[in-house]
């Protein structure tokens, strides 16, 4: 739009300090963390002696970090699948214009308003091997002795203990994908569905040929958002399970926090955080680039 030069100038003068602070706190600090990750800072007093990639080499050789990366992979995979499939299913139920739709929607979404700490405290009791779900199953006659998040059992690198965290996180986030899908479904013109019905298309056919293609980009956005939630996961694991026996429920975020702020291994913590940032950048940067490129047109 047209705008006098003077007004643009005022805008930039207001903008400059705000952006300077933000960019300092984001990019300046990231650069600073990167620098720390190449040092030998292992105590309260900063030590900026350059050691190259020593911290990274140490991390990738350490049992704990290898387990963390595996846990992150499996957690992300199952968390995304459950939230997308479950969320789509829920949105499809509500798309049928059920009575009391808004009540259903409110109930499916409410966990999202909670803190991961609340979720963690709550689900830790639910999965408690002595008094949680096991006790409930025993009450109705099953012989349930699952270890849940204390289990050290592992299938092909997937630590079974993670399932407790995956269930709790999915309980919290499934409503989110439901809301996204429902918004997408509601944007489909009614006539399109109606005319397909007149042409004799059944429910499955409509889902496959009309609904799925339309919600594909939403699925992609949902995967990005869920993926970055799970790559950053910290609070939930911290509150619900901690790192667990043999790190079965450990994640890079937890490792970083403990080694930095409990163990004073700053350079190691910085290296973990840089790796976390890179993992997320791989997902987010292409997404942002494609979004802003298409907006320019």
């Amino acid at each position: 739009m047209y705008c006098p030069k003077k007004d643009i100038k005022i805008g930039l003068i207001i903008l400059f300090p705000l952006l300077a602070i933000l960019f300092l706190f984001v990019y300046g600090f990231i650069a600073w963390s990167l620098r720390v990750s190449f040092t030998d800072w292992n105590g309260i007093i900063p030590n900026m002696d350059w050691v190259g990639f020593e911290n990274y080499r140490y991390l990738f050789q350490s049992q704990r970090f290898q387990t963390d990366l595996r846990n992150t992979f499996y957690f992300t995979l199952f968390f995304i699948i459950i939230c997308i499939v479950g969320g789509f299913f829920l949105s499809y139920l509500l798309y049928a214009k059920l009575k009391a739709e808004s009540l259903f929607r409110t109930i499916y979404l409410f966990p999202l308003s909670l803190s991961f700490v609340v979720t963690g405290v709550l689900w830790r009791w639910i999965f408690n091997p002595e008094i949680g779900l096991n006790a409930l199953l025993q009450m109705i006659g099953f012989k349930a002795e699952f270890g849940w998040f204390t289990s050290t059992y592992s299938i092909g690198g997937f630590n079974v203990a993670l399932s407790s965290l995956i269930i709790a996180a999915s309980w919290q986030y499934m409503g989110y994908t439901m809301a996204m899908f429902l918004a997408g479904l509601r944007s489909i013109p009614d006539q399109l569905i109606e005319s397909a019905k007149i042409d004799g298309a059944g429910e499955w056919r409509i889902i496959r040929s009309i609904i799925l293609p339309i919600i594909k980009p939403i699925t992609f956005s949902a995967m990005i958002v869920l993926g970055h939630v799970s790559l950053k996961i910290f609070d939930l694991a911290y509150a619900m399970t901690g790192k667990g026996p043999a790190f079965v429920t450990d994640f890079p975020g937890l490792f970083m926090f403990e080694t930095t702020f409990r163990g004073n291994h700053y350079s190691e913590g910085a290296a973990i955080s840089v790796i976390m940032l890179l993992l997320i950048a791989v997902v987010i940067v292409p997404y942002l680039v494609s979004t802003f490129r298409s907006e320019d047109v």
């Binding site: 739009m1 705008c3 006098p4 003077k6 007004d7 005022i10 805008g11 207001i14 903008l15 952006l19 706190f25 984001v26 600090f29 990231i30 600073w32 963390s33 720390v36 829920l90 139920l93 049928a96 059920l98 109930i107 499916y108 979404l109 409410f110 966990p111 308003s113 803190s115 700490v117 609340v118 405290v121 709550l122 009791w125 639910i126 008094i131 006790a135 009450m139 309980w171 809301a179 996204m180 956005s221 949902a222 990005i224 950053k232 609070d235 509150a239 970083m256 926090f257 930095t260 702020f261 913590g269 973990i272 955080s273 976390m276 940032l277 997320i280 987010i284 942002l288 979004t291 802003f292």
Partner: protein, 272 residues
């Protein structure tokens, strides 16, 4: 015929209601049990003698932290509105060199894992005397909340026709006069969305809070709850009551202003 096909959908919908609500049942049911009734395997049985013991105990331990959380989220939410609307307006209506790149750089800031800025953040807050203080946490949340608040306002302002501003400017207002007199008064819906979004996410934050506030007397409720729940000697009725106390403010916001909450949620995926 139509209602017949809907029956299975109702059955599934109700089934999921149970799945989503049973943890809430566990939470409420056990928070109202008295100490005497908190015994192994009784977690699932309904409370026989409802009592406020758990809540009294939890409140005596968390009351101050509840207050801290309010002292934290209120200024952060308000400042997020102020800064978010200004920056969002600039990026929606002014074209200048690199504005798109700058905006993408701002938005990237909301996706970063905060671990990657924590060490410098702690050093910096320490240096300016804000480490270990609630004010340090407030400043931190305002700064890292800028990307999302900016995004929400920009998406809203982008939909406001330029003519509205230009009409004001023809009447002799400057762009910034028009911003204050024309744009701000119609920004209410987005202000509410940002307010609720920041209220909820700052209330629920744990990472910044646990790193920046060490003294129990200034910790927000999430950190205090975690400390309470991490202690083995605290009975679970108190833990559940504590969790419920920590959850109630955001739950109330969600139940009464859910529409705005969902709007904020959906704008979190960059495209408004």
């Amino acid at each position: 015929m139509k209602s017949k096909t809907l029956v299975p959908k109702y059955i599934f919908a109700v089934l999921f209601v149970f799945i989503f609500l049973f943890p809430l049942y566990v939470l409420i049911n056990n928070s109202i049990k008295p100490f005497a009734d908190v015994r192994i395997s009784e977690m699932w049985l309904p409370a026989e003698n409802p009592s406020s013991e758990g809540f009294k105990e939890a409140f005596s331990k968390l009351g101050q932290n509840l207050k801290n959380s309010f002292l934290l989220v209120i200024p952060v939410s308000l400042m997020s509105i102020v800064f978010g609307s200004i920056i969002g307006f600039i990026f929606s209506k002014l074209r200048f060199r690199f504005s798109n790149v700058l905006f993408a750089l701002i938005i990237f800031g909301m996706f970063i894992p905060y671990q990657s800025i924590l060490i410098p953040l702690v050093r910096t807050l320490n240096k300016i005397g804000l480490y270990g203080k609630l004010s340090g946490l407030i400043v931190t949340h305002i700064i890292y909340g800028l990307p999302i608040s900016t995004l929400m306002f920009r998406n809203y302002y982008a939909k406001i026709p330029d003519e509205l501003l230009e009409a004001g400017m023809i009447d002799g207002m400057s762009l910034w006069g028009a911003f204050l007199k024309i744009i701000i008064p119609i920004s209410m819906p987005t202000m509410v969305v940002v307010l609720i979004w920041q209220f909820t996410s700052v209330w629920n934050d744990f990472l910044f809070a646990v790193v920046i506030t060490q003294k129990p007397s200034i910790q927000p409720i999430t950190v205090a709850l975690q400390n309470l729940a991490g202690s083995q000697v605290i009975e679970w009725n108190v833990q559940m009551a504590g969790a419920l106390i920590a959850a109630i403010p955001t739950l109330i916001v969600y139940i009464f202003l859910g529409k705005f909450f969902i709007q904020g949620l959906l704008s979190g995926s960059v495209k408004g």
